[in-house]
Structures are given as structure tokens and as C-alpha cells.
């Protein structure tokens, strides 16, 4: 078991390295670098000393030097500063990460609270009308593009009832109700579209488990159906669900970019999108890095939990 944990932890390092290189290089490959963008802000451009601007931004050094500087800075906790606003990237992340995290958590709660009951219900009433309806609803949520559903939810209530979800963000500690009111609608939409996959998995795991012999034994013993379900079946089907949380993490953390845009949620998705469009290299690489670390951590925890629960995996 211990070797498994250690090996798993060590495996994270090369992954991180791969990640950082990919991210660092890719943003600089995009045509239209930040100097051009800065120069284009003005009416005239003749004679702007490009070299001066590059030096002032630290972009004149060769790329491997920039990478090395970036890595050493990170190890000291310094993620650099925005090229446009000079704000420390850590500050921008500190402002946006909790928001995205909160949105993701709410969405996850919605997804699970919708998916698991429906999944269990579907499994227990397999192939009945109820099963079909439940599964269809879930798949429908998956099939409708999020921006379309988001637009409908935003526009039509405002036309019919003069109501729209609040669009001003306030931090949770300042105004919990206002904060939740703002995030609730995008969280519900995000959660619903995630619920399909979770529901499907819950259902199939439940089906498998319900067929097991020990369930038949429990039934034969005369236990109430609910007890059977709760005590035995549920516990066993939670394993893949936990795995699933790991798989969904990129979606939750990295950004429901589209929903953030429609519902004016100042999360990391929007931060990243703006930074990409403005070629703000430090912000993009910083965000990617934090996202990467967070997701790797989640996957690590998930894998370790999985390994702990499933003896077959431990001994590979």
C-alpha cells in the first residue's frame, strides 16, 4: 500500500513538469503577442521603441531563461504579475479561485442530488416508464448546449415576469444570501448538465450490485427493500462515483467559461479567457498551473481512495 502511495505521489512530478512546459510554450505561440496589442492601443505607432517595452516587461530574454525564471519564482511562491495591470497573479487567483470553487461545489451538489436519486430510482425500476423518463431528462440536460439554456433562463423570465438572476457579485462572507443568489442559477445549470454522466454511472453500478448474490441473500432474509438498497448497494456504487468526481474536476475548476460569461460570474474561467485574449502570459500560465495542481491533487486523492477501497488495484 505504501509503495502505491509513494509511486502515485512521485508520478505527479513529471506530469506537472509536462504541464508547465506545454502551458508556457503554447501561450507564446499564439500570434499577436502582447507588445503588438499594446502598440495597437494608440492612434499612431511610428517609432515606438518596441525593445524598451519588451525590456520593461521582461520579455526580451530568451525563452528558456524566461521559463527558468518562472519556475524558480513559482517555487518561491511568486507567480508573477499581470503584464497589463501589474497585479500579482496570486492576487488575481485569490480573488477568482474561491468563486469558481464555490460555483463548482454548488454545481456538484446539484449534480449529485439530482443524479444519485434518479440513478437509484432508475436502477430499481429498470426498463419501466419511470426509468425511461428519468434517463431521458438527464440526457436532455446533456444534449442542450449550455449557452442556449443559459440564454433562455436569462432572457425569458425577464420578458415574462421582469425577473432576472442577480448579476452583481458579492463575496460570501459579506453577504451570504446575495452571493448564493448570484451563483445559484449558473450552478443549477452546470450541475444539471453534469448530472447525466453521474446518473448513468450510478444506475449501472446499482444494476450490477442489485444482481449480486449477497443482495439476494439479504432479500431472502427478509430485509426491507430500502434497507437492502441503502446498506449494501449504495456503499458499493459510490466507488465509481468518487472516480467520476475526479474526472469532472477540470470542468468544475477550470471554468464553466460559457456560463460565467452569461451570468457575469468573475471566476477563473473568465479570468483565463480574458488573459488569453489579452496575451497576458503570466496570468495564463499562473492560472493553468493552479488549475493543474488542483486537479492533480483531486485525482490523487481519488486514486488513493479508490486504491484503498478496491484491493485489486493495490497490488498492481
Amino acid at each position: 500500500m505504501q509503495t502505491f502511495i509513494i509511486r502515485r505521489l512521485l508520478a505527479v512530478i513529471p506530469t506537472l513538469l509536462f504541464t508547465s512546459v506545454i502551458v508556457f510554450a503554447s501561450i507564446r505561440l499564439i500570434p499577436g503577442d502582447v507588445i503588438d496589442l499594446m502598440l495597437a492601443q494608440n492612434d499612431i505607432s511610428t517609432g515606438n521603441d518596441r525593445a524598451l517595452i519588451e525590456a520593461s516587461l521582461g520579455l526580451d530574454k530568451p525563452i528558456y531563461v524566461q521559463y527558468f525564471v518562472w519556475i524558480t519564482d513559482i517555487l518561491q511562491g511568486d507567480l508573477g504579475r499581470s503584464l497589463w495591470q501589474n497585479t500579482p497573479v496570486t492576487e488575481q487567483l485569490a480573488a477568482t479561485l474561491p468563486i469558481t470553487f464555490e460555483l463548482g461545489l454548488l454545481a456538484l451538489m446539484v449534480a449529485l442530488s439530482v443524479a444519485i436519486p434518479i440513478g437509484i430510482y432508475s436502477a430499481m425500476r429498470q426498463d419501466t416508464a419511470g426509468d425511461y423518463i428519468a434517463r431521458s431528462f438527464s440526457l436532455l440536460m446533456l444534449a442542450i448546449p449550455s449557452f442556449w439554456l443559459g440564454t433562455l433562463v436569462m432572457v425569458f423570465p425577464s420578458v415574462w415576469w421582469r425577473w432576472a438572476p442577480p448579476l452583481q457579485y458579492t463575496p460570501f462572507l459579506e453577504d451570504p444570501l446575495g452571493n448564493l443568489g448570484h451563483l445559484l442559477v449558473p450552478a443549477i445549470l452546470l450541475g444539471l448538465s453534469l448530472s447525466a454522466v453521474t446518473m448513468r454511472m450510478t444506475r449501472t453500478m446499482m444494476l450490477e450490485v442489485l444482481r449480486q448474490d449477497y443482495i439476494r441473500t439479504a432479500r431472502a432474509k427478509g430485509l426491507a427493500e430500502n434497507m437492502v438498497v441503502l446498506r449494501h448497494a449504495l456503499r458499493n456504487c459510490l466507488i465509481p462515483v468518487v472516480t467520476l468526481i475526479g474526472l469532472q474536476a477540470p470542468l468544475l475548476i477550470g471554468g464553466a467559461v460559457i456560463l460565467e460569461q452569461i451570468f457575469v460570474v468573475p471566476g477563473m474561467g473568465l479570468l483565463l479567457l480574458e488573459a488569453v485574449f489579452q496575451r497576458d502570459y503570466p496570468v495564463v500560465t499562473g492560472v493553468f498551473l493552479v488549475v493543474g495542481v488542483a486537479i492533480l491533487t483531486i485525482n490523487l486523492v481519488v486514486d488513493l481512495t479508490y486504491g484503498f477501497l478496491d484491493p485489486k488495484v493495490r497490488h498492481r
Partner: protein, 557 residues
């Protein structure tokens, strides 16, 4: 009898006050003209055009628009133009008096009651001094990001005494009041800024009616009233200290459907810019809204690279203009909400603008639809049927993305095929600044002012000259215009130059659309004005007051 008169007087004055007296307090939520854009930089030395929009209610300038001359108050000026103030609509803001000591020396006396507010960690409260103006000028003049020739006309700026600033010119420049006065790069910051991180929004400080209380990236900027502000506003003959509202909040909303919804549900008090498409529906669902329609302050055009064949041939360029049905675009694409010809000069520039009806035939022809003649010209110039070229368009402009397939089908009818290449903003702009952009380039370019509109687009080597138009004659003419002190002469020359460049047709000239602004009736002392300086709405917002009673009566809190 006397008591009756007193009673009547009392009653009338009560009425007058009840109708007109402004209320203090409340929040003003605004979806500005740039509602989808976040601030790029708070640092004046970065020379970003948007800086004035974001900081213009905190940092003041030497000159600003005289809002008493607005149409709403019976004057002539709508205060819509991006960065142009007609000479009759300018007042001194921080400059109380100014005069020319000699041909090349400008002396400006600053007002004595302007004060910088206290800002913890930045500065203590203190009066404005000439040294601050000098500091602000030097800060941007010595920046590595400065536009190279922008302040060439100024040799030296210094403080003669505590309240007098002297500008020594090396040569006269007709744009002097715009370039450091009411323009984009004219904000006056306190000297203390020299020792601080200028990029940090918390260090934005000024003499203006508001302070920058909070900035939430991609969501909102919140400005709070400066209780010590020097300015006043006259309403119904009485002077009131301004600003009236407690807070002004710029809401940043990227999605069109969302900001329209925010207006409809009262989450926005003012929405300064929306396309015509949603207007009818909004008028039906929300009839209480007040409206203003104004002609857009950017021209739309497809630039053709005159440094590449076959666009070096004027017949080809004129042919493409004939092939596009601009009138149909006005009537049907813009639903009638557009002007056929409003670029490079803008109708809001008064005398500088010559209407299409008064233009010579060669200009008028470009706005007619004649595909037969277009094909003829193309044949003459040796352009074969099926000739194709790339056209780049920014995916950031929904309107242009809608327009380009229409242009494609017009050109197809004369045997020219365009290949559409959408690019996102940074790549699109960078293609132009690095001059690697395609033969066709669909661009919106701000009018700015009557001289700049020609200079930036058609002088050799300028960034915003996508057609690569280059003419020594034209360059020299533009240079001369800057030296003309007499406005009448400038008007005549610019009109001529405009005619000439339009005939040359380096662009496919396209109509300019109208934009609509809307606001709720509880927003008072406001008539849809947009700018009192280069992209600077600060003075306008500081004069608005909210009728909170009316707002509550209408069901909004």
C-alpha cells in the same frame, strides 16, 4: 391680499422644488458604451485609450466639455463624439484661465479650489498645484510606451508658480487642446504617484467628483462620491454641490443577451449602447424607458491593400464599392438605423462634415449600386471572373461577423470570391500592427476628431492605416493642417482632403450604424450624453441624480 400672495408664492416654490430639486444618494448602475470591456490599465504611462473612461471621474483634466451647452439644456451639443469637442463646447476644468503669452507660449492658471482627496496609503488631502500638472505631463511624455510624435509640438512644461503652468511650444499644433487638454492622455495625477505602483488601481487618485472604491475584475468598478468635490451644478437657477449619487457602478457584462436583460429588469439604470435589433422588442416590453439614438462614432469599412495587386488599381477599388449595395445595407441590414456615408468625417463634426448630397459625382457614385459597371471596371483592370482574396474580420464584433457573409454575396455577384477569416481580437489587431494582414480587412475605426480621422487612416505607416495607403502629397497636406491656427482654413482643407481620399477609395466605404441608449425615468438631469472629453463620462455622471421615490413607486428597490 398679502397673505394670498405669500400663499401663492409658497405654493409655487413648493411645486418648483418638488419638481426640480435634486435628491442626494443612491447608486447609479451603468452599462457603459464599453460594457463588454474590462479596464486594460490604470497607469497613465501605459498610454491605453480606455484609461480616461475608467479613471475620468477620479482624475480631472485641464479642459472638459461644457455640459451647460448640451442639447438637453437648450444648447447645440449632444456630447456623443468619442474624442472631439467643438470649440464652442469647451470649458476649463482644472484650468481657470488661459492665454497665449506669445505665439508659442501658453500660460494656464489653475483653479484654486481643486483638491486631491485623502487616500490611505497614497496621499493626504491637499490642494492641486501646478507641479502636479507638470508631473502628469512628464510622466506620460517620458514613458517608453508614448506615441512618438504626439508631444513634438511641446518643448517644455514648467510651473511658474503654485497655480500657473507654462507650456512652451516648439511649433503651433491645431490639436493642442486635444492632445494635452481634454484628450485621451490628459489626466492630472498627484505627484505622490511617482513613488507608487501606478498600475495598482488602489493608487488611482485625483481631484475629481468620485474616488475608485473597488474594482472587481470582469465584473464591476465601484466609484464613491467625493464629498469635498469643488464642482457644482445649476438646476432651475440654484447651485447644488455635486455629485448627487453615493456610488457610480460600471457593470462589466460581456454577453449581449445578459446586459439587455439587466436593463430590462432594472439592474442597470442606464445602458449606453445597444444595437437596433433589440430596440423594438425592448420598447414593447419596457415602455417606461427613455431613449436616445446616436450615430456610431466609428466607421466600418473593408480596407483593401493598395500595396498588393490588383488593389493598386483604382478601378478595382472603385468597382468593389459599386458592387456593394450600401443603401440596401442601410435599409435592411440596419433596419434603416444607419447613415449611408458618415466616414471618415462624422456628421457630429459640424462644418468639417460635408454631406453626401454636396459631394462631387465621383464620391456619390461610390455609394450607388451598379454591379454591371463594377464588372466592367474589373474587366478593364484585368481582374478575371472568379478572382478570390482573403478577408479578415474580428470575431469580437458580432455586427461585422453578420455583415461579412452579406458582403461576400454582393461580391460574388460580380465574380469576386472572398475567403472569410475570422480572428479573435488580439490576433486580428496584431495582424494589422505587424502588417501581415490580408488584402481585405473588415475594420471599425474611431473617428476621433476631424484631423485625426484622416491622419490615422491614410498617412504613411500609421498603425491604423490597414490599406497601406501612402502618398507624399497627402502626408504633407496633413502636416500642414496641424499648423493652421485659423479654423475656417482647417475646415476648408480637411473637406478637400476628405473628398480626395474618398475618390481614391482605399476602402470599400460602408454605412455607419446608429446606436441606441436607454435609461430608466428615475435617472434625472441626463439626456443621453456620453462624453465630456476623450471617452470621458465622469463630468456627466457627477451631474446625474436618482429619483429614489419614483424608483420605489415603479416597483424597483
Amino acid at each position: 391680499m398679502r397673505s394670498l400672495v405669500c400663499l401663492l408664492l409658497a405654493w409655487f416654490s413648493f411645486l418648483a422644488r418638488a419638481e426640480v430639486a435634486p435628491q442626494y444618494g443612491g447608486d447609479l448602475n451603468i452599462g457603459t458604451v464599453y460594457v463588454t470591456l474590462s479596464p486594460l490599465s490604470w497607469d497613465p504611462a501605459d498610454w491605453t485609450w480606455k484609461s480616461n473612461h475608467d479613471t475620468g471621474s477620479v482624475r480631472e483634466q485641464l479642459f472638459a466639455g461644457d455640459l451647460d451647452k448640451s442639447v438637453r439644456k437648450g444648447g447645440d451639443y449632444p456630447f456623443i463624439a468619442d474624442a472631439y469637442l467643438p470649440s464652442g463646447a469647451i470649458r476649463g476644468e482644472l484650468a481657470e484661465r488661459w492665454h497665449w503669452q506669445d505665439d508659442l507660449t501658453l500660460v494656464i492658471e489653475l483653479r484654486r479650489d481643486a483638491r486631491f482627496t485623502e487616500r490611505p496609503g497614497v496621499m493626504a488631502a491637499r490642494p492641486l498645484e501646478a507641479a502636479d500638472v507638470v508631473f502628469s505631463y512628464n510622466l506620460i511624455d517620458q514613458s517608453p510606451k508614448r506615441i512618438a510624435t504626439y508631444f513634438d509640438h511641446i518643448r517644455r512644461v514648467y510651473a511658474r508658480d503654485r497655480h500657473t503652468v507654462v507650456f512652451e511650444f516648439s511649433e503651433y499644433n491645431a490639436e493642442w487642446m486635444y492632445r494635452f487638454g481634454y484628450g485621451y492622455y490628459s489626466g492630472i495625477s498627484p505627484r505622490e504617484l511617482g513613488n507608487l505602483d501606478r498600475k495598482d488601481w488602489r493608487n488611482v487618485s485625483g481631484t475629481g467628483p468620485f474616488t475608485l472604491e473597488k474594482y472587481v475584475q470582469a465584473n464591476a468598478h465601484i466609484y464613491r462620491r467625493n464629498d469635498d468635490y469643488w464642482g457644482t451644478e445649476a438646476i432651475a437657477g440654484k447651485e447644488y454641490p455635486i455629485p448627487f449619487v453615493d456610488r457610480v457602478i460600471y457593470r462589466i457584462i460581456k454577453d449581449e443577451a445578459t446586459f439587455l436583460t439587466a436593463l430590462r429588469t432594472g439592474q442597470l439604470d442606464i445602458l449606453e449602447a445597444m444595437r437596433w435589433i433589440a430596440v423594438d422588442h425592448l420598447k414593447k416590453t419596457t415602455p417606461e424607458l427613455q431613449w436616445n439614438r446616436w450615430l456610431g462614432t466609428s466607421g466600418t469599412f473593408m480596407s483593401l491593400r493598395v500595396d498588393q495587386k490588383p488593389f493598386d488599381d483604382i478601378r478595382v477599388r472603385r468597382a468593389l464599392n459599386l458592387a456593394v449595395n450600401q443603401q440596401e445595407i442601410v435599409d435592411l441590414f440596419y433596419g434603416g438605423h444607419a447613415e449611408l456615408m458618415a466616414y471618415p468625417q462624422h456628421p457630429g463634426f459640424g462644418e468639417y462634415y460635408q454631406p453626401l448630397a454636396e459631394m462631387p459625382a465621383e464620391v456619390q457614385e461610390l455609394f450607388t449600386y451598379d454591379p454591371v459597371k463594377a464588372r466592367q471596371l474589373l474587366d478593364e483592370a484585368g481582374v478575371p471572373e472568379g478572382f478570390s482574396f482573403d478577408v479578415q474580420v474580428c470575431s469580437c464584433s458580432p455586427s461585422n461577423m453578420d455583415l461579412i457573409p452579406l458582403l461576400e454575396s454582393y461580391l460574388q455577384k460580380v465574380g469576386v470570391q472572398i475567403r472569410i477569416q475570422p480572428m479573435e481580437y488580439a490576433s486580428f489587431l496584431s495582424a494589422m500592427t505587424t502588417k501581415t494582414h490580408g488584402p481585405g480587412y473588415l475594420l471599425n475605426s474611431g473617428h476621433v476628431n476631424p484631423i485625426t480621422t484622416l491622419r490615422k487612416s491614410f498617412v504613411t505607416g500609421q498603425t491604423w492605416n490597414p490599406s497601406q495607403y501612402s502618398s507624399e502629397y497627402f502626408d504633407e497636406q496633413i502636416r500642414q493642417v496641424h499648423l493652421m491656427r485659423d479654423e475656417a482654413e482647417r475646415i476648408k482643407t480637411l473637406r478637400r482632403l476628405t473628398r480626395e481620399i474618398m475618390i481614391e477609395a482605399p476602402y470599400i466605404w460602408l454605412p455607419v450604424g446608429y446606436v441606441h441608449s436607454a435609461w430608466w425615468p428615475w435617472v434625472k438631469n441626463y439626456g443621453g450624453e456620453l462624453r465630456a472629453g476623450a471617452v470621458r463620462p465622469g463630468p456627466i455622471y457627477s451631474r446625474i441624480w436618482i429619483d429614489r421615490q419614483l424608483k420605489a413607486e415603479m416597483g424597483f428597490d
